[in-house]
């Protein structure tokens, strides 16, 4: 979950009213924000990726005002058309990044902390709804450094400009190789011959979306008017992103002027609210509480939505940046938040069903009981293990190996097809503990086929100097005999690397092979640095004691 850093005094100021520190800290979790840590006035908050408006203190303050009852309902965002700002879209962008949207934020003031927060917000938006900048990406510019109208077009890779955080002109290729953002996000534009570029009327490069802005238009604490541009492969998601930034900048004190967008299926963003008709019966059906429509309306308003009662229904107005709201079910949650989760009391209704364990569990419990009765200690190993343990150290056949892609942990790359290798690994890690060591494990093993076969196996090992084949065979027979009354036979089998030659067998029940048993070969024990005798067996329980 993404994290935002807040200063409690700044939040108090933004919330205004007379909210105390304690009230704010108490209410934050009820907005769905987890307080990760608190260090004096600095608090770290985890927010859900579905609420990108909570990526800055401005957005959080807006939410707090609602739940604290300081300000309710939608903050209206008037968009003026005083000045003529425009951007024209060239058809060459169609194939690579067809959409641009934007707005001009005016008459605002940003301090260093606000700029830092906006930058973090941008990164969170890029990662989440921007899908790592592929779907949409955002650029903020000092509008006073730009000569309008702008053109959104493409340029060849030899095109040069001074990118952000640099003071020399670089070509597109140089930017993609030399800058960190170029290396991280170059993949988005793949090998396109011409790349997206925003130019101003004097042919200055403003931005190279979705990679980097130009140094010319950098936003500083002296910036008063900001151009926000969002480019992307989907018009609506670009406008989603724009709407979040607009709502945050509005709380930061900016006003807005339209940016006229034309050309190539692009159009000026409207950032309009939408309405959803809500049937108040959902409240009692879903939440289990009875609220009058007017109370529901208040709850919705506390969540910074607008609502009014219309006959038996509620008309709810959703601001553009709340694109996390899909339908009435989302409004139920808003009502619950507005009402206060703490005010909804748990209710224990008697169960009308009778609970039951699965047969697999019941049977596994039985064999576990016998194993413990016979003096075995249960171990639990990962199903995802390593090639080294599964195949290399045990010299097992690896033709049926099932790997996962790009594991972050080298010890966890292969799905196990047998339990014995991990049990040997357990013995290997415990050579300093007292003997005898008697271990067992019940677990899922995997095999290839339609598309993956999963079955539950059971394996046992015994380690101490005098153990031998007879002992493990006696244990195996007892485990199957007790409770299950299964009689088993052991039959000489062809040599296997895992077992000492001439001292192992296949286990059969009713003419069907269910496993293998034997003394572990000394060469294998050496691989595991085990300096005592080890015997063991492994059987497939699936199909034997349950289906």
């Amino acid at each position: 979950m993404p994290v935002v850093e807040l200063n409690i005094n700044r939040i108090k100021k933004l919330v205004s009213g007379n909210a105390t520190r304690k009230q704010i800290l108490d209410v934050l979790p009820f907005l769905g924000l987890d307080i990760e840590s608190e260090d004096g006035d600095e608090i770290r908050i985890e927010y859900s990726p579905n609420r990108p408006d909570y990526s800055t203190d401005y957005g959080i303050a807006t939410g707090l005002q609602g739940l604290l009852g300081i300000k309710k309902g939608i903050q209206k965002i008037p968009i003026k058309k005083i000045e003529q700002f425009a951007i024209k879209v060239d058809s060459s962008v169609t194939k690579i990044r067809p959409y641009v949207t934007g707005i001009i934020a005016t008459n605002g003031k940003l301090d260093d902390l606000s700029i830092k927060q906006l930058m973090n917000m941008q990164e969170d938006l890029h990662y989440g709804i921007g899908r790592k900048r592929k779907k949409s990406s955002i650029g903020l510019h000092d509008a006073d450094k730009i000569s309008f109208p702008l053109t959104y077009t493409t340029m060849p890779r030899e095109h040069k400009f001074v990118p952000l955080n640099s003071n020399v002109e670089q070509t597109i290729d140089e930017i993609l190789t030399n800058t960190e953002v170029g290396q991280n996000y170059g993949w988005v534009i793949e090998n396109a011959k011409n790349v997206p570029i925003i130019l101003d009327s004097e042919q200055n490069t403003i931005s190279f979306p979705p990679i980097i802005n130009s140094a010319l238009t950098i936003v500083t604490p002296n910036t008063k008017n900001i151009l926000i541009e969002v480019t992307g492969i989907d018009k609506e998601s670009a406008e989603d992103m724009l709407s979040v930034v607009v709502s945050i900048l509005q709380t930061a004190g900016f006003e807005f002027n339209e940016l006229k967008i034309t050309g190539n299926k692009n159009s000026t963003p409207q950032l309009k609210d939408r309405t959803i008709m809500y049937d108040p019966k959902f409240t009692s059906e879903i939440l289990g509480i009875d609220l009058t429509p007017s109370v529901s309306v208040t709850c919705l308003k506390k969540c910074r939505l607008d609502a009014s009662v219309k006959g038996k229904k509620i008309t709810c107005t959703i601001p553009r940046y709340r694109f996390d709201i899909f339908g009435p079910m989302d409004l139920v949650e808003e009502i619950a938040l507005g009402y206060g989760i703490a005010n909804i009391k748990p209710k224990l209704s008697p169960s009308t069903t009778i609970g039951q364990k699965n047969n697999v569990t019941i049977k596994t419990e039985l064999i576990t009981k016998t194993a413990v009765g016979l003096g075995f200690l249960e171990v639990m190993n990962s199903s995802l293990t390593s090639k080294k343990i599964l195949y290399e150290m045990t010299k097992r056949n690896l033709s049926e190996i099932i790997s996962v892609l790009d594991s972050k942990s080298r010890e966890h790359t292969i799905l196990r097809d047998s339990l014995l290798p991990s049990l040997l690994e357990n013995l290997s890690k415990n050579i300093h503990e007292s003997y005898p060591q008697k271990l067992f494990e019940t677990g899922v093993v995997f095999s290839k086929g339609k598309p993956i076969g999963e079955s539950i196996n059971f394996a046992v090992v015994i380690a101490y100097k005098d153990t031998n084949y007879s002992e493990i065979k006696a244990i195996m027979q007892s485990l199957l005999q007790t409770n299950f009354k299964i009689s088993s036979q052991t039959k000489t089998s062809k040599n296997q690397e895992l077992f000492a030659s001439g001292r192992h067998a296949d286990i059969f029940v009713d003419e069907k092979k269910i496993g293998e048993i034997g003394e572990i070969d000394s060469a294998i024990l050496e691989n595991f640095r085990i300096r005592t005798s080890v015997v063991g067996f492994e059987i497939k329980l699936s199909g034997l004691i349950f289906d």
């Binding site: 998601s237 289990g288 909804i344 748990p346 995802l384 790009d406």
Partner: protein
């Protein structure tokens, strides 16, 4: 009554019957038992009233440096008298002859003994012999001790000793505590050869053995499963390997969502599920994605096989297939995340998830089930906070107060399946869902702060926990 003796006791008895009053050290030497065994044996015999432990303290005296000097040259007051033998002397003369503190001591004691008189004139004090000085008891004692060590019993004049002890560094006093063991009359006449042997040292250390047992994490899993069953839930079991369709698509996770990337989810190499679901399920899920997430849903993405990231894929598939009218079911098992392993993260851990469909399926009912679940685990201080899960709405998380840690801890999550999840699969009623990781609860139970301990299979931990 025949007595039963341990071999240690027998050896001590036999030795003491030959020679009484031996110290433990002597007994150890004579019986060839260790001093610890002797101590234990003596204690057992004492409790059985066969041995008497005599404790005594021996005090001895010898001369210290000042004492030895006085033995040779006389006490300071004797030195003074010797100086005055021929003629009286002034303080100045005496002081220069008797160095340091000796002067004051000599004057004071000689005066106390009545040996000297002091006349003061205008300029000086003159000291002369008053009486013939006889040998004092202290002087007698000094020469009696001489260079020997004598015991307190040998001293005939305790007053003189007291005086000498009060003078610094004249006498060295030593005290030694000793213990000797003797036998009671009953023991002296015991015939140890007829008393039966075979008693054992019931206090000696024995080798450790360890109980065979189930794994502590398995115990927690079983405990939690039992609570679910008691709450009316029935267990279903599903595969750990799942198609992306059931792990993600059916749960309304868009195909370009970051959680679906390789770096968070384990994809199986070169393995696909050709027909992950029925054609109508695929059609409905696909159109729900296209409509709500506004992108181009692809079948190929949903065919990729993953290690399940939650057990929800098992429950939702069960619902979609069985379409029960009224049911409480749960699924429990391993789930996987492609994470770096650390003290708080595993790539593979256990999760349980229960769902309720049918009657009493409001958020309040869900909260009630949670409260009862935690009560059965012994956790009574709980509260609910809103949270976000992609496939439930509304969504809550339970916060449980941990007394030992003194803080609120996030445990299970819960919510009502979004209609975007249930509708495409033909499920019309609200479905409550709740669950979470089991290791977290087991960590609290066993007071572990490193979750990896559960899978280390360290025998010293498993045998002792």
């Amino acid at each position: 009554m025949s007595q039963v003796f341990h071999d240690i006791e027998k050896k001590i008895l036999e030795t003491l019957q030959k020679v009484s009053n031996q110290t433990p050290e002597q007994l150890s030497k004579n019986t060839e038992l260790s001093i610890d065994q002797i101590r234990r044996g003596i204690e057992w015999l004492r409790l059985k009233e066969f041995a008497i432990v005599n404790e005594s303290e021996k005090i001895t005296f010898s001369l210290g440096p000042n004492g030895l000097d006085s033995l040779k040259n006389g006490l300071p007051e004797r030195k003074l008298i010797n100086m005055l033998k021929d003629e009286p002397k002034t303080f100045e003369q005496i002081r220069s002859a008797l160095s340091g503190a000796g002067f004051n001591v000599a004057i004071a004691n000689a005066k106390k003994n009545g040996w000297i008189k002091i006349e003061k004139n205008n300029f000086n004090s003159l000291v002369s012999i008053k009486e013939k000085p006889i040998e004092t008891p202290e002087e007698k004692l000094l020469s009696f001790i001489g260079e020997k060590t004598v015991s307190r019993e040998e001293i005939t004049n305790p007053l003189a000793m007291k005086i000498l002890l009060s003078r610094p560094n004249y006498i060295i006093q030593n005290s030694q505590k000793s213990k000797t063991i003797s036998l009671t009359d009953a023991a002296l006449s015991l015939d140890t050869t007829v008393s039966s042997s075979g008693a054992i040292d019931v206090e000696a250390d024995v080798p450790s053995i360890f109980a065979a047992r189930t794994h502590p994490l398995q115990d927690t899993i079983d405990e939690i499963r039992e609570i679910f069953v008691n709450l009316g839930f029935s267990e279903i079991i599903g595969n750990m390997t799942q198609s992306s369709f059931w792990n993600f698509d059916a749960l309304f996770t868009p195909q370009d969502h970051p959680a679906r990337e390789l770096q968070d989810t384990f994809y199986l190499e070169d393995i696909e599920s050709k027909n992950p679901a029925t054609s109508s399920q695929i059609k409905n899920v696909s159109s729900s994605h296209n409509k709500n997430w506004k992108y181009d849903w692809k079948l190929s993405e949903s065919q990729k096989m993953v290690l399940r990231t939650h057990t929800t894929c098992v429950t939702i598939k069960h619902l979609a297939e069985q379409k029960p009218e009224n049911a409480r079911i749960f699924s429990l098992g391993r789930v996987f995340r492609n994470e770096k392993v650390s003290y708080k993260h595993l790539v593979e851990f256990n999760q349980i998830e229960g769902i309720v469909i049918g009657n009493n399926t409001t958020l309040r009912d869900l909260m009630g089930i949670q409260k009862e679940f935690y009560r059965k685990l012994g956790l009574t201080k709980i509260k609910f906070w809103p949270t976000f899960f992609p496939y439930t709405e509304p969504s809550l998380q339970t916060m449980v107060y941990n007394e030992k840690l003194g803080k609120w801890i996030e445990l299970f999550g819960m919510g009502i399946f979004r209609p975007e999840v249930t509708k495409p699969l033909g499920i019309d009623k609200p479905v409550l869902a709740w669950g979470g990781g089991i290791e977290r609860i087991a960590m609290l139970k066993y007071e572990l702060d490193d979750v990896r301990e559960f899978y280390n299979n360290n025998l010293s931990w498993l045998r002792s926990v």
